[in-house]
């Protein structure tokens, strides 16, 4: 087997942005993974048999955090070039689902996204207006695209030894610090946002809002298995619209 000196990682990265596009219960992200891996394994040796078999393997069932899928794409493509036995390639993909999902959740969903959103909310509350929103979109996506690019490159660099990439101190430190940093920003943002949002209300309506917020918090904790913040928010919106309609 030969490993390309200049693998088309850029093309694979572009395709990785669509990895959720073909999500389904049968293969979850599998089809998207196959599409993203295809440029990296296009030149596998043989009369096309190795290539076709590798694409089919790449499109098998897979599910992980979408920003870190590239790590599995790069690692399995490299493993295919290195001549790793097919069964071992499949086992590598399966083994990556859990850690990539857990790491992505900690880094992004519970870290980078609420952290940058909180900073944007602070900016809006302090009067920066649309600039805060544009700033959020730019900063969040710099981190997002950088993470996707790092994942793909690291996967390709390490192949079957990809666990080494996940042990990198910078990554481990980011995963450890992301939750406390997010909590700090959320703590700062909350009173500022409450002050900003309730600025136009009369004092007694602020008291009503405080009761509704406290009641909602308790209700969400109590009924956490059945009630979500989204559902509760939608019910509140409907109630507010109804009350406003009668008020007029």
């Amino acid at each position: 087997m030969t490993t390309p000196a200049r693998p088309p990682l850029g093309r694979s990265l572009l395709r990785l942005f669509t990895v959720q596009g073909s999500w389904n219960y049968e293969r979850m992200q599998g089809i998207g993974m196959g599409v993203a891996e295809q440029p990296l394994i296009r030149d596998l040796d043989g009369n096309g048999t190795a290539y076709h078999a590798a694409v089919a393997r790449a499109a098998h069932f897979f599910n992980a955090h979408p920003y870190l899928c590239g790590l599995a794409v790069g690692a399995t493509a490299r493993a295919e070039h290195d001549g790793v036995p097919p069964q071992q390639v499949e086992r590598l993909r399966t083994a990556l689902c859990g850690p990539l999902g857990a790491l992505g959740d900690r880094l992004v969903w519970a870290g980078w996204l609420p952290l940058t959103s909180g900073l944007a909310l602070i900016g809006v509350a302090l009067g920066l207006g649309l600039w805060a929103i544009f700033g959020f979109l730019i900063v969040y996506n710099i981190g997002h695209v950088a993470l996707r690019w790092w994942a793909l490159r690291a996967g390709w660099a390490y192949g079957g030894q990809v666990a080494t990439a996940l042990r990198e101190p910078v990554l481990q430190r980011a995963a450890t610090l992301s939750a406390p940093a997010m909590a700090l920003v959320a703590g700062v943002a909350l009173p500022l946002v409450v002050h900003y949002l309730t600025g136009g209300f009369l004092s007694w309506t602020r008291a009503v809002l405080a009761v509704v917020a406290a009641g909602g918090f308790v209700l969400l904790r109590w009924q956490r298995a059945r009630l979500t913040g989204l559902r509760f928010g939608l019910v509140l919106l409907a109630l507010a619209a109804l009350i406003g309609w009668f008020w007029q």
Partner: protein
């Protein structure tokens, strides 16, 4: 406590196991029963990375699991036992080894399997093996996470 959950899941250890079940059960150890993972340090390291450091992960082959099952059942901590296929489950439950309840948490698409639930794909042979286990007295239900309804075996085989 003991083993609170015997789970068949071809993704083995992932978010649904660690967070979905692990948190409400307050699991303190997870046993992964898989012959291939048992013999691969790389794979073991990857699976360990998906688990918080305060939860112990034990890797066991099917033979080792048969030997140590009663030891895990006596463990004062709560544990989860995960295996990736029905053959491993059948080997473990054979001869009354103490597996009384099994959770089918995720068996995904492969050639030869058909969809039974959104997260359960089974071949006819696998469905027969699950029914045989049920006939031996093992309670088999499908349930991906604790917040969903457990589906009885007869509804997905």
């Amino acid at each position: 406590m003991s083993i609170a959950l015997y789970r068949v899941d071809d993704r083995l250890i992932h978010g649904q196991v660690v967070v979905g079940w692990g948190k409400p059960l307050n699991a303190r150890f997870i046993v992964l029963v898989d012959d291939s993972v048992r013999s691969s340090d790389q794979e073991q390291e990857l699976y360990r990375m998906g688990v918080p450091p305060d939860i112990e992960v034990v890797f066991a082959s099917t033979a080792e699991a048969r030997q140590r099952l009663s030891e895990w059942e006596r463990d004062p901590r709560t544990g989860i036992l995960v295996f990736g296929d029905i053959d491993t489950l059948a080997a473990l439950a054979a001869n009354g080894h103490g597996v009384s309840r099994v959770n089918v948490g995720g068996l995904h698409h492969r050639p030869g399997r058909s969809e039974r639930l959104r997260y359960v794909y089974l071949s006819d042979g696998e469905a027969v093996k699950l029914k045989a286990l049920a006939a031996q007295g093992v309670e088999v239900t499908a349930q991906d996470v604790p917040t969903t309804r457990p589906v009885p075996l007869e509804d997905f085989t």
